[in-house]
């Protein structure tokens, strides 16, 4: 007697999920947005808070979780403002200046000022790095 085992082509189905595959696919329905997608890790949030607070200060779990939410709101809010500006100016890509502008326009002038200075240095450093790479690439092509 021969067992009629189904053909092996039916047997295996591989589901391959690419980690960064279109994030938009998973966020059609807000209720399915995982916390890890919309919140910063609580460990990082807690650590940054601890660094700034006096050593004997404690934060309730609810406090830390609320901080996570506040911080995500901040990111969305500032980026949204910067993005609106880009739309109005018919630009597709939000850049560092747009973020600085958004911060200033939303009342976070202190951040805007110090981040403008940071951005300047960042661009200088990136520019130097790009130039260095360009020149070494040229050498290799020879």
């Amino acid at each position: 007697m021969v067992d009629n085992i189904g053909s092996s082509s039916e047997g295996f189905k591989y589901n391959i999920y690419a980690a960064d595959a279109s994030i938009h696919d998973s966020v059609e329905d807000h209720s399915t947005i995982k916390e890890q997608d919309r919140l910063l890790p609580i460990a990082n949030v807690g650590r940054i808070m601890k660094q700034i607070l006096p050593p004997n200060a404690k934060i309730s779990k609810e406090g830390k979780e609320t901080m996570q939410e506040c911080v995500s709101e901040f990111i969305s809010f500032v980026t949204g403002e910067a993005s609106d500006k880009c739309h109005k100016e018919k630009r597709k890509t939000v850049n560092g200046d747009d973020i600085c502008w958004a911060l200033g326009s939303l009342g976070f002038d202190d951040y805007a000022e110090s981040l403008k200075r940071y951005l300047h240095k960042y661009r200088e450093a990136e520019g130097e790095r790009a130039n260095h790479n360009k020149s070494s690439n040229n050498e290799e092509r020879d």
Binding site: G63, E73, T79, I99
Partner: protein, 134 residues
């Protein structure tokens, strides 16, 4: 002559504590936002750290005013209210204050009972009704 800093000093020594990949994910949740370039991501990440530190500090101050060591939601709420730009976008997003639990209500009532002046002997009090069952 100024010392020549190694190229990557500014971008490496001031690494944000917050992972930029997560920040990017949060930004992308908003479909209206198209592209964000690398420098924008770094700037927003730093800004977020400043904001977090700021809120933490202010909340700690509120907790201190209320003579508490543990920072709670209510302290956060007061801190948010006190800073206009933050209040404008954040106040409505904060979770509602928890309704006092029954436990808390009973505790509060017991406290106010203890503080009341003793009433004349023989006065009928509703407490007597409840005490029968405790």
């Amino acid at each position: 002559m100024a010392e020549q800093e190694p190229e990557s000093t500014i971008t490496e020594s001031v690494q944000p504590e917050i992972p930029t990949r997560r920040v990017k994910r949060i930004m992308k949740l908003d479909k209206d936002i198209n592209k964000v370039n690398a420098e924008a991501l770094v700037v927003i990440t730093h800004a977020t750290e400043f904001f977090l530190q700021f809120l933490a500090e202010k909340s700690a101050l509120v907790a201190l005013e209320k003579k508490r060591k543990t920072i709670k939601l209510e302290h956060l709420r007061v801190a948010v209210k006190r800073h206009q730009p933050t209040s404008d976008f954040l106040l409505d997003s904060l979770p509602m204050p928890a309704q006092p639990s029954d436990q808390q209500l009973l505790k509060d009532r017991a406290k106010s009972r203890a503080n009341k002046k003793p009433v004349p002997v023989g006065t009928r009090k509703i407490d007597a009704f409840f005490q029968k069952f405790t």
